[in-house]
């Protein structure tokens, strides 16, 4: 989140405790919320956590995966399996 810093003597804001919020309205419409710095930090952490878990890690194929690719499997249906598969409807 882009943030702008200013000192308490530059703006007039009400006191808010952790877990509380003051909603600011303009012309009857809610336009902003004032929350405690602890809650703001929590919000930032949540956003960072969502971004972190969503970011795709660089993929490294495992040795097991490489082996599965490099060894050819000559799998073929057994006589029993032919009884089930390959039937025309």
């Amino acid at each position: 989140m882009d943030t702008t810093h200013c000192t308490a003597d530059q703006v007039r804001i009400p006191r808010v405790a952790e877990g509380e919020a003051v909603i600011v309205t303009r012309h009857g419409k809610e336009v902003a919320a004032i929350i405690a710095i602890e809650d703001f930090r929590l919000l930032e952490s949540l956003k960072a956590a969502i971004a972190a878990v969503s970011r795709p890690p660089r993929y490294q194929p495992s040795a097991a995966e490489i082996e599965a690719w490099e060894t050819d499997d000559d799998e073929f249906p057994t006589e029993e399996e032919w009884e089930t598969i390959g039937k025309r409807l």
Partner: protein
């Protein structure tokens, strides 16, 4: 929905292109075709981007990733599977311990064998190349794991989508 149309999570035998290397062949052309040779041939034969080029294929059990409502679309995406018995003991153990990355154990017997889905083995298959019989079925939990691994394997950037969905859920919650 027609009952025998392939559905997500099913394991069915299918005719799968098997293209280990230089796989394409064209009638009258001795060497396997690569892109340069094929494009040169297409250019020579005029502006027609469709030729009957032959590709080796095998029949294999595949894991269907999704079903379509309409049979007319005909194209499915599926993952190749590999029998555990065809793998080395160490790799088998890794698959069973869910520590094999792009190999995900398919729960329950599937096509008569313990089997893993190969996450990188994505194939687009026409419906007619897939058998009618269902020979195994992966659980919803396994399909979630397969989905996660596909996202990792393909390095899909889901950040914006997840963020948007979380915001949508949060905005629907009653703050009280």
């Amino acid at each position: 929905m027609t009952p025998d149309l392939p559905q997500r999570g099913e394991i069915r035998w299918a005719l799968v292109p098997h293209a280990a290397e230089a796989p394409f062949a064209f009638a009258g052309v001795e060497d396997p075709l690569d892109f340069a040779a094929a494009s040169a041939m297409l250019r020579t034969r005029g502006a027609r981007n469709r030729q009957d080029i032959v590709l080796p294929a095998v029949i294999r059990p595949v894991l269907i990733l999704h079903g379509w409502e309409s049979a007319s679309h005909g194209a499915y995406v599926a993952l190749r599977t590999r029998r555990l018995e065809a793998l080395s003991p160490a790799t088998r153990e890794a698959v069973l311990a869910d520590a094999a990355g792009g190999l995900v154990l398919l729960d329950g017997a599937s096509a008569g064998h313990e089997r893993a889905a190969m996450i990188a083995g994505i194939s687009g298959l026409h419906g007619s190349a897939i058998d009618h019989a269902v020979v195994g079925r992966a659980s919803a939990k396994t399909m979630r794991r397969v989905s996660e691994r596909i996202a990792d394997r393909l390095e899909l950037d889901l950040g914006q989508m997840i963020s948007d969905r979380v915001e949508a859920v949060l905005s629907g919650l009653d703050p009280a």
